[in-house]
């Protein structure tokens, strides 16, 4: 996926020779062509990864990886100039910070996910080590993908913090913290509570939330099953390498059969070795699935935000109603609902008229505030619903397109694997025929 950021519009659609490469190109080209966003104005890519050492927050020595982000103005490229890119280094934690900022600042957007923090769904040949070069490479690709998605998003791409992230290496962190976004973050507890207690959430969002659960479940199941399959397939291919050795040994005691056996043995070795490339390519497919596994989480977050705003609106409305009721009781003397004040009044006599006036006044103020609050919350809730629904639709279309491409690419990979297998065995067969 890396070099594709550099590609400009390439007509990939009508090719009959559909390759996996085309699939990846297709994704990024769409992002360039269709969206009137940052990506149109600026070419972005994560070009390299490097190891660095430094002192961390608790003054301990640590090693970490930094990634080089390169940007170039698109118009310069269009004019045929080839200016040197602006570049800066960022580490994974800074990407995380950026994403958290986006999550808080745009709670109605399904925010693109980052590549996984730690290697999961590994099968035995893959390393779970974060410093492993293959992992680092796949992460580099994933980070670039993240930036491309964000930069092509109709809403997110306009954010100033994002621009800073791409252009200001050193002062960026301060600027992010200054936005005070961390304070605006909803507490986990609040959100969870809302999920349970909300009474009238928008059905569409409830359905979406259910869908996000399904998506998460299926993608994770698929990733796990695929890893097991990869493991087994690896074993099958590698055992065939033993044929190579035994044919070689056997050829030593044969006269006419010797040459044929020996060459066939070499082809068996080649067959056994071929699985490495095949499975490495499949990791791309796994990465595409992983992206949507994490996307499901982002989708659910939007739905939960709706539950929260809806809940807060319901609470505010409820609060206003109760205040109004209290006011009515106090002013008319009719007690409609049970209250301790009412009880104590009955038992110990009513309060003095001055006190009553004071309380009425207070209540009126509170009611006024409450009405403001309900108005605000209603707006907040409705705005969220409106904007979120737009983005959810956008996400749905993107998901359908991307996953469809991914599945087609997977089929292409399978065809390629079959062709390779046929080639190898045909070669071996020719040697057998010459025995």
């Amino acid at each position: 996926m890396a070099e594709d950021g550099r590609d400009e519009s390439v007509a990939a659609d009508d090719d009959s020779q559909h390759t996996a490469e085309d699939g990846r190109n297709g994704l990024n080209n769409t992002m360039v062509e269709e969206s009137p966003t940052l990506l149109r104005r600026m070419e972005i890519c994560v070009a390299e990864a490097e190891k660095r050492s430094g002192k961390n927050a608790v003054n301990m020595q640590e090693t970490f990886t930094v990634y080089l982000i390169e940007t170039r103005p698109m118009d310069a490229l269009a004019e045929g100039r080839n200016p040197a890119p602006d570049s800066l280094w960022r580490r994974y934690s800074e990407f995380e910070l950026l994403r958290n900022y986006l999550l808080v600042s745009f709670p109605y957007i399904v925010v693109p996910p980052l590549p996984e923090k730690r290697a999961e769904f590994v099968w035995h040949k893959l390393s779970a080590d974060n410093m492993d070069p293959d992992f680092v490479e796949r992460r580099r690709v994933g980070l670039e993908n993240f930036l491309l998605r964000v930069a092509s998003h109709p809403v997110l791409s306009n954010d100033k913090i994002l621009h800073h992230f791409l252009t200001e290496e050193h002062s960026w962190k301060e600027v992010v913290y200054e936005t005070g976004f961390q304070a605006k973050a909803d507490s986990r507890l609040k959100a969870l509570s809302a999920t349970f207690r909300v009474r009238n959430p928008d059905k569409r969002f409830m359905d979406m939330k259910h869908y996000s659960d399904e998506l998460q479940s299926h993608t994770s199941q698929l990733l796990r099953a695929r890893a097991r399959v990869a493991d087994r397939l690896y074993g099958v291919y590698k055992v065939h390498g033993n044929y190579g050795r035994v044919f070689s040994e056997w050829s030593a005691i044969e006269r006419e059969m010797g040459d044929g056996l020996q060459s066939a043995g070499h082809h068996m070795d080649a067959y056994a070795a071929s699985i490495d490339d095949i499975l490495e390519e499949e990791e791309h497919y796994a990465d595409q699935l992983k992206e949507y596994l994490f996307y499901a989480e982002a989708l659910r977050a939007v739905c939960r935000k709706h539950e929260l705003t809806q809940f807060e609106l319901e609470m505010a409305t409820q609060d206003l109603i109760s205040k109004k009721q209290q006011h009515e009781e106090l002013s008319t003397g009719i007690v409609r609902t049970f209250s301790f004040k009412g009880m104590t009044n009955k038992l110990f006599g009513q309060e003095a008229p001055e006190q009553r006036e004071a309380r009425l006044k207070l209540l009126e103020e509170l009611i006024e505030e409450g009405e403001e609050a309900v108005k605000d919350k209603t707006v907040e809730c409705e705005e969220h619903v409106e904007k979120a629904w737009v983005d959810v639709q956008r996400f749905k279309e993107q998901k359908d397109k991307d996953l469809r491409e991914a599945l087609i690419n997977y089929a292409v990979m399978q065809v390629s694997m079959c062709k390779k297998g046929i080639q190898m065995w045909s070669n071996a067969k020719e040697c057998f025929l010459k025995m």
Binding site: Y211, A225, N242, I253, L403, K419, I422
Partner: protein, 439 residues
């Protein structure tokens, strides 16, 4: 006397047994032996062996001349194009279950077509069971101890583990029996064995078998007696022995590898099935992605089917042949041992005779000559059969390994076809959607 060495044989540099004789026997008529390729004065210029004495070898000479022709044909392809030469065709097929009060067993139809005068009719059709094949093999081994008798499939099967009446088992066994009989029928010497004739023609073999069992015991005793120790196995038979040992080892390794592959493939198949299932279950929560997901699930299923077939075929066709050759090697080693024994016996008797001669100047006893003759026949037969066997083995393994390659190719082709048609289907849908969008 001389022993015919077919022209086609490449062998030797072999020391004739004559040179092992004690120098004091030089007074005797030199026993000009051409064991191996050494053509001495007794041979004609074109190499055709000439019979000098010993009536024992008369009948075998005819066979050896025939061996010449057959050998050349065999080097090309023992089974296919020698039809002009062949005059005996046998087939084993049509397995049927027989149920009697005492036992249940399978019989096979053995069909024969021949132009040979040893047979009364040109065609025969009899039914035989495994026991009968076993009888035949024992008779052949006993009556032709100097030849390599092809192996039979395993006799005993553990009743609990393998189903003796399952289609696959019967099919595998039948193929092996067919191969056995064809190899015997193609052998220039064995095919003329009267026991084979009886096997192919007699309606009820059981009566014969009874008598056979008795004589079998007697003959095997004959071989145990001897007690002579072999001094030195001639170089080419040493080479034979070494080859057999190494080859046996390699076959064992190949068998293990093949089994391991089957096991790995089976486990892969299990995971693959589950994997396909996940795609199917995902379909439920999607709309647009329904078709691609279903498609992928379908292709995975097809691949599973292809893989399963591959595994079954390898079990049925590949492994049994390997095992058959292991048995073959065993029986060849036995023949080699018998050869050693007869050589040892000859040398022992010869030594004894020489010592006696030194004392009373009696001529070389007839039995020593008979022994020598026996050894020479044995060596010649064995070498001829060995070359035959090598050539057959080459053909068999070529076929076996090519078959394995073909099956793997076939499996991949099935899978590839499924995936390609899915890609076409999905891409067509894509262009369909695009055109409907722009309209």
């Amino acid at each position: 006397m001389s022993v015919g060495a077919p022209r086609a044989l490449a062998s030797s540099g072999q020391k004739p047994i004559t040179e092992i004789l004690h120098p004091l026997s030089a007074a005797e008529e030199p026993l000009s032996v051409t064991v191996g390729g050494d053509k001495q004065e007794v041979a004609l210029t074109n190499g055709t062996p000439v019979e000098t004495s010993s009536p024992a070898s008369t009948s075998s000479l005819f066979n050896r001349l025939q061996l010449d022709d057959d050998l050349e044909a065999d080097v090309r392809d023992p089974y296919a194009d020698s039809t002009e030469m062949r005059d005996l065709f046998v087939t084993v097929d049509d397995p049927k279950k027989h149920v009697s009060t005492m036992e249940t067993y399978i019989t096979y139809r053995v069909s024969t077509k021949t132009s040979r005068v040893e047979f009364d009719l040109p065609e025969y059709c009899v039914r035989r069971r495994y026991q009968d094949f076993d009888w035949l093999r024992i008779k052949l081994e006993d009556s032709q101890p100097t030849h390599l008798i092809p192996p039979l499939p395993e006799k005993f099967v553990m009743k609990g583990v393998v189903d003796r009446f399952s289609e696959e088992f019967v099919e595998t066994r039948m193929k092996a029996l067919d191969k056995f009989l064809k190899r015997v029928a193609d052998h220039p010497v064995l095919s003329f064995n009267p026991h084979l004739t009886a096997f192919l023609t007699v309606k009820d073999l059981n009566k014969r078998q009874g008598l056979a069992l008795l004589s079998k015991v007697g003959e095997s005793v004959k071989h145990v007696a001897g007690g002579y120790k072999l001094r030195a196995r001639p170089a080419e038979f040493c080479a034979m022995g070494e080859y057999l040992d190494t080859f046996n080892q390699k076959l064992g390794t190949i068998d293990r590898i093949a089994q391991r592959i089957l096991k790995e493939q089976s486990e892969y198949l299990t995971e693959l099935r589950e994997y396909g299932g996940v795609y199917s279950s995902w379909v439920g929560s999607e709309e647009e992605l329904r078709r691609p997901l279903e498609g992928v699930a379908g292709c995975v299923t097809t691949s599973c089917g292809a893989l399963e077939d591959l595994g079954d075929n390898m079990s049925l066709d590949f492994l049994p042949v390997l095992r058959e050759y292991v048995l073959y090697l065993e029986s060849i080693k036995n023949v080699l041992r018998k050869r050693d024994q007869s050589q040892a016996e000859y040398e022992g008797r010869l030594e004894a005779a020489i010592l006696r001669k030194q004392e009373d100047r009696t001529p070389m006893p007839l039995e020593v000559e008979k022994c020598q003759d026996k050894v020479e026949c044995f060596n010649a037969d064995l070498k001829a059969d060995w070359e035959r066997w090598q050539s057959n083995k080459r053909h068999d393994f070529k076929q076996l390994l090519t078959g394995m390659a073909d099956r793997n190719i076939n499996s991949y082709e099935k899978s590839q076809a499924a995936w390609e048609s899915l890609i076409t289907l999905l891409q067509d849908k894509q262009t369909e959607d695009k055109t409907s969008e722009t309209n």
